[in-house]
């Protein structure tokens, strides 16, 4: 019976694991709903500020903001948005792969890169493989707030302003749907803004400009910084929704796999039990025959 007993212990341990993965699946499911809500809630601001920036591109300010000027690229910065925790399938791995591919392309052109990272996983990754990480924020929790992100964003925008880096990319997971998350790399700076059609209509095609109060330079700076911040915030909440849904899917698969393992173990256990009963019977019959 030694074999059967071992199998029984194993079944028990797999069942315990299954309980954990099932609980994680449920938790991820409810967190995902909230994260998706937060992602949707962030959209109106992003849309409205994009509209404002589009109007700005239509207007004719007397001064060109550095965020809108394309420079020769000597150094680039990557803002990498990852999750704080693992057990969410290939979410972070896929993201880092996309990032590394892009980093290598720039390196081949002789362009050095530096990184600003969000989330524990990216911090750990760059710690392992090296790389100049200039700023990081982790432990943002399930409800990331804009305040938590501002410091890291500012480090990057300051580097851009001072000419230390000439281009800034945002690397994050795009939430397509619950089953699919797509790693994306977008250019943040210089801003690639296309003028909205709306401005064209309201101005009737005449050149116009805003009344700036108090000062065009400062205002443009505020609007464009807010725009950038909203882009990064959007990426962080989107990544958080992606994380929860990836975890939900991964844990669902894990629970199913545990079920399959339990089934096959149960089969083995039954066979072992049957074998031992048969053996015992054979012994009894054999013993009786001997008498």
């Amino acid at each position: 019976m030694a074999g059967a007993k071992e199998i029984r212990t194993k079944i028990k341990s797999v069942k315990n694991t299954q309980k954990i993965t099932r609980a994680m699946e449920k938790v991820a499911m409810s967190k995902m709903r909230k994260a998706q809500e937060r992602m949707i809630n962030a959209r109106p601001y992003a849309e409205k500020i994009l509209r404002t920036v589009g109007h700005l591109a239509q207007a004719n300010p007397e001064y060109k903001h550095p965020f809108l000027v394309d420079r020769a690229v000597r150094r680039v910065a990557f803002i990498v948005v990852s999750s704080d925790r693992g057990l969410c399938g290939g979410l972070n791995t896929n993201l880092f792969r996309a990032a590394v591919r892009s980093i290598r392309e720039w390196k081949e052109k002789g362009v050095e890169a530096e990184y600003a990272v969000f989330g524990n996983k990216a911090v750990a990754f760059f710690k392992r493989v090296g790389g100049k990480v200039v700023a990081q924020t982790s432990h943002m929790g399930d409800k990331p707030h804009l305040e938590q992100l501002l410091g890291t964003i500012k480090v990057v925008t300051d580097a851009y302003r001072s000419g230390e880096v000439d281009r800034v990319f945002l690397v994050s997971n795009q939430f397509v749907n619950t089953m699919t998350q797509k790693p994306t790399i977008r250019q943040l700076l210089p801003l690639a803004v296309t003028a909205g059609e709306e401005g064209e209509r309201s101005s009737g095609g005449f050149p116009w400009d805003y009344i700036y109060e108090p000062d065009a330079r400062e205002l443009l700076d505020t609007v464009l910084s807010r725009y950038l911040e909203s882009q990064v915030y959007q990426a962080v909440v989107e990544n958080s929704a992606s994380e929860q849904s990836a975890r939900m899917v991964a844990m669902k698969a894990a629970t199913e796999n545990a079920g399959k393992i339990i089934n096959s173990l149960q089969l083995a256990y039954n066979k072992a039990r049957q074998a031992s009963i048969t053996k015992e019977l054979a012994e009894i019959v054999g013993g009786a025959a001997a008498v």
Partner: protein, 137 residues
């Protein structure tokens, strides 16, 4: 004659609708905006944004600062959710830098591409392998 008003913050939409007039606490003093106002861009102080709807009702929303954009038929209030002050931002930036320095204290300053790729290829192979096992069952 009415003007469309959108009040949004980074963490959600606050108000959207038509209005007869909008009052906002601009940095240079409170402004009242009627339809067909000239394009205006200004920063807001913390205070109340008041919206007079077409039915004559007055709605008030508190904003902790932000940006006001006026187009002839459109008012957009981009409210700040975070407390914004130059020195607060500065301090946050310094902290973010410090955190990075601490976390990276014994990491190389140049990315080891070969190592990064090897690690990721391995992880991807593992994922593929797991997928395969799953299908076989």
């Amino acid at each position: 004659m009415s003007i469309h008003v959108d009040i949004v913050s980074a963490e959600g939409q606050i108000h959207a609708g038509e209005a007869k007039m909008v009052f906002a606490p601009a940095e240079m003093g409170e402004v009242g905006i009627s339809p067909r106002h000239a394009p205006l861009l200004t920063r807001l102080k913390p205070g109340a944004v008041r919206v007079q709807t077409e039915s004559g009702e007055e709605l008030a929303f508190f904003v902790g600062g932000g940006i006001l954009e006026v187009q002839p038929h459109l008012v957009t209030v981009l409210a700040d959710t975070a407390l914004r002050a130059k020195d607060v931002d500065e301090a946050a930036a310094v902290q973010a830098k410090q955190r990075a320095e601490e976390a990276m204290s014994n990491a190389k300053s140049d990315i080891d591409l070969a190592r990064a790729q090897a690690e990721l290829v391995q992880a991807a192979a593992l994922m593929q392998f797991l997928d395969k096992i799953k299908k076989r069952h």
